[in-house]
Each structure stands twice: as C-alpha cells, then as structure tokens.
Symmetry: C2
Subunit: 351 residues, 2 copies
Amino acid sequence: MVTLADVARHAGVSSSTVSYVLSGKRSISTPTRQRIEKAITDLGYHPNAGARALAGKRSHIIALVVPLHTEVYVPTMMEIAISVTVTARQYGYDVLLITNDEGPEGVRRVAASGLADGVILMDVRLDDDRLPALRAQGTPAALIGIPDDPSGLACVDHDFAAAGALCVDHLADLGHRDLAFVGYPPRVYQRHAGYAERTLNGFRRRAEQRGLRVLHRPCEGTYESTAGTLARILADRPGTTGFVVQNEGAVGPLLSLLRTTGRTVPEDASVVAICPDQLAEQYAPRLTAVTGPRKELGQVAVEQVLARIDAAAAGGAAPDDALLLLAPDLVVRESTAPAPRRVTTTEEPST
Amino acid sequence: MVTLADVARHAGVSSSTVSYVLSGKRSISTPTRQRIEKAITDLGYHPNAGARALAGKRSHIIALVVPLHTEVYVPTMMEIAISVTVTARQYGYDVLLITNDEGPEGVRRVAASGLADGVILMDVRLDDDRLPALRAQGTPAALIGIPDDPSGLACVDHDFAAAGALCVDHLADLGHRDLAFVGYPPRVYQRHAGYAERTLNGFRRRAEQRGLRVLHRPCEGTYESTAGTLARILADRPGTTGFVVQNEGAVGPLLSLLRTTGRTVPEDASVVAICPDQLAEQYAPRLTAVTGPRKELGQVAVEQVLARIDAAAAGGAAPDDALLLLAPDLVVRESTAPAPRRVTTTEEPST
DNA sequence: TTGTAGGCGTTATCAT
DNA sequence: ATGATAACGCCTACAA
C-alpha cells in the first residue's frame, strides 16, 4: 500500500506538505505542488480512509436509512437514494445504506461509532422512533418527510398542499365545478398521516377560494372499494366531472369503472392523479398528474446534512431547523379536458 | 467521546483486555469480562470505526455498485440491495452504496482507499469495464450476473437455462406440442447478453429432449412489434398453443392480442412469463411465471465476498473462482392450462 | 489470564 | 512556503 509518507519521500518533501496539497488548506508553491502531484499519480496513491477518519474526525460518509418493507413506490425510493448518493459524491461524501430493520439502534450505531458523520432518514413517520436517538446524540440529520415535531431537525418533503391546490387549479381552469377527491384508506387519515392531510387541506382550501364544490372520499384501493366509492360520489353529486386521485391502487379501477358506467375520460370526466410520472404514463389514457421533484429531494437532503455536519464541526452552534417544501409539477396528459357542457346538473323536473 | 481507554479505566483493566473482550480473540475470565461489559454499557461505549479500520486493516464495509439508469426492474434491484445489506449486517459488515456513474474509477477508489474491504457488482455486463480494475487490484469481489470471462471471480446469478427448461417442462406436461418463445429485442441477442442466450439455450435443449417444436422470436416489446411477432408466429405455426415470454414490455400486448384474435388464455393458449412474481400478479389473468430467488442472490453474493475478504486477509491464496447459479421457481397461476384438443393441426386440405 | 507498547496513515499545531 | 511531531483510537505481537 502506498502511503502519504511514500509520496513525500518520492517528491522530496515532508509528509505534511503532501497532506496540505491534498486538503488545499495551505498555499503551496506551484513547483512543489506539481512534483507532489506527479508523485501521487506515479505511485498510484490513494489516501487511506480509516486514517483520514481517525485523524480528521470525519468519515466523509453519510448514512441513508431506507424503509425495509415498503408501502412506498419503490422506483421513487430508488431514485431518491441514487440522487442522494450522486449528490453526496459531488461533495466528497459516500453513502452508507442502512435498512430500517435496525431501528433506532441503527442510527445510534453509525453515529456513535463515527462511521457516518450524518444521517438521512427516508420514510419518516409522524411519531418516528428514530428521532429521539438523533436528538439525544445531536447527530447531524435530514429527514425526508415531516414528523409530528420537526423542531430542531431539517425536514425536506414534497409540498403536498401545493399539490392538492394544483389539481384544483387545473380542473377549475378547465371549467369543472364539482370535484371528488379519491384518497387513501380511512386508516391513513385516522392516523393523521402528514402527506395525506396536507394534500387534502391544500385541495380544500384552493377549492374554496375558487368556489368549487368538493367531496372527499377515502378509498381502500381495491376494485370493489373503488366501485363503492365511485358509486357514492355519483349518488351524492351526480354532477361531479373532476376526479383527483391520491391512491395508487385506486387509479386503475377508477378508470375502468368510469368507462364501465358510460363515462369517457376525458370527454365526460377528467382525472388528475397525484403520483409519479412513471406510473401516470402506464395507464390508458395516460394520466394528467401532479408529481414532486424526486431528485431534488435527495439533493436538498444531502445539502442539509452537510450544512449541519459543517456547523457541528465548526462551532457546535445548533443550526436553525429547516422545513423545506419542494414545489410539485403538474403534467398535462390525456386524462383531463374541458368540463362537458352541463346537460343535467340537477335531477330533471320530470313530467 | 468514550474510548477504549475510558472503558479500561472504568473497569480497572488495561485497554488490551477490553479490546480482547470485544474481539473475542482471547479468553477472558468471567468476572473481568462482566466488569468490562458493564463498563461498556455504563459509559455507552461504541468503538470508533476509523480507528478500528486503521489498526485492524479492515473497514468492515463492502461496497455495492448499483446501476444508474437502469433497464432492470427496479423493485427487484432494490430487493437485492436490501438483502445484501441485511445479510452483511449479520456478519458485522455495513454496505456502501456506489452508483455506476463513477464507472471503473468507483471500485478503484473504494478499494484502494481501504474504504471498503470488498465489492459487489450488480448489473454485470458481458464485457464489463469494471472487471479489469478489480482484477488489477485483486479486490475481493462478487458479481451478480455473469461476464464473458468469469475466471478468478465469484459470480452469482439466476440459472436462466433452468428457467427456460422449466417453462418447457410445465407446458409439455400440460400437453402443449408447439411452443413459441417471445424474447428480447434482436439487439439483445446480437450483443450476446448472457441471460438472454442462456434462457434460450435451456429452452431449446429441453424442448428437444421432450420432442416439442419451438419457435424463437425476438420482440421489441411495443404493442405494434408484439402484434407483428404474434402474427408471424401464428402464420408460421398455426398450431402454437404455448407461449413463453421473456420481455417485460411484450407481456401486456401479447395478452391483449391473444384475446383480440379470439384466443382465450388459458383455454386456447397458455402463457408462461419469465419475470418477477410481483409483475406476474399484475396482469389479468395472473401469469404463471418463472422467477429466480432474489433475496438469496444477495445473500450468496455477500457470503462470497466475505469469504474472499477472509482469504485475502489470511493467506492471500487466490480463492477458487465460483460460478453459482440459483435455481428458479415456477409458480402456476391462471395463464396456463392443458393444451386444447387439436382441431386443426395443419391447414385444411380444402376442396 | 492479563498488561505493555509500538504502530496503523492522516491531520493539524507548532515551529522555522 | 515548508518541516517536524504529537495526537487520533484501536489492534496485536510480545511479555509476564
């Protein structure tokens, strides 16, 4: 193995000089720098990570904690993980993969051992049991998702309220007056899952502002439950022409059912999904959808941890907590169109 | 930070004794061990990873190199990555995530710096440019996939030949006599992608053994190309009743097209897919499918690297290369049934 | 069964 | 602008 000392000898300088050309923390005369750089490539020197971590008190590693048995859409998770890794590399950091089966002990372990300088948590739940460990140890961290109590922590997430509002705006602009929101199963709302509630609030608020009538219906996401949900919606508000779906399981059934019940999408009914683009493309018709920027999520998370790592190393001044909500985008595809002219807005006064 | 020395002091022993109870490389009297263990938990001691790596010449980290822009089915990749991570932990190792955009330099970097003790490569191509780097440095490694020249390397993969044979057996057992294999696009075979060729060979060989007639048709996987492929198959061999599909894109179209052309699955035609179970479940009818064990892939890969890491640490005796093919499973679902009685095996001698 | 001490390769603080 | 040199925390012969 080639060491710093080898390089120094080869270049005829002291090892500290070599160290300084590597770290750039000292100005070096051009000639010696060049000699050293040549020696480095000649010998094929690679700094030893362990020694660097030990002496420098930084491992240049951040831990990424990923959910194990995930209800999340896996490709999205993967995309974030990759974006985290690539971004980290740009800052000279590597990423350690931690699976959530280690629980709170996992973050404790990597932080306490100095294996990782900081931690990024994916799939953060409202009452996340890993947060106490983080707070107790003062571990630099960034959360992807927002817990009950985000105080003192950096949180990054999609702006779900904006997503809900975006759906309303699009449908309102197309002239729809009665909207239905097909959501997650009731239990998701009962446990006050952050993203679900925030989406719904954004949706309702904007609908009110724009004077639309809305219906919210939780849905299990099976074919049968979706059928029931749709039937109730149409019974309660026969004039409903705009559908917003935030429930991956319900999308397919909903499209079939609309067709089955004689409603053509998008001529008779418009559907906006809140889901990854990749998924939206899979249906026929392809869905107009609202999506959050996944790569950026990873990038911002990395930048947040790194900022906190630097702060901890510098002063130890507790950095402000941050709550970063990333604006979603709406992509128009084939499932939305202007609202049909109203033929029967209310029941016909027959006879 | 609590150090080994702190623990030693607290327990009234020397630091080497503490070190030895941790590593278990020396027998310690029960009383002192207990005193030390108590001190460890009392003080909340966690061994410093950097120091351990430096002194012990092992980082206890393995690098997992994942494809960046993947054509692979992402959930499968994720499942393997998770299984690698979990398995590694069981052996006291952590996993570093390396994205393939670093190219060969990535594996060089982590190995040369001692950041990782070994490497697992996913998505190995036939002529993989990362292999020279591995061989040159003698880095302990395991490949998931099989390259052109696997000599000196540990390779783990699905037994695709067995998968192909399994499909034949299942359809033959059901009485099908004429099979068609709907494969990947021509370019995949032209570049001699290992998995594609091996599947096809296994398929053909077994079909020959069992006296079945087979057709192989590459397919782009779009709706149009699948239509063309099916048309040609039925023109060439109207009596074809068994379909084997190894092309994720073609499955959906094929099912639609069979239906469209008046063939009910499975009554008139049977379809076996070679794909992840998760995918097979998504279609209607749910597909009989052949799948390889993904978790085991990750486990075996980890065990292979670890074995090589130990070997390298011990003697440096170049360990035998290994070629481990994991047996696939066939799960019967709704897309296969006994072959229909043959009504028109050949063209009618009309007039 | 336990202790002593040198060394692992870098960083960073003093000097010069 | 460059050199010595003491940490950093742990491992492991070598002693006792």
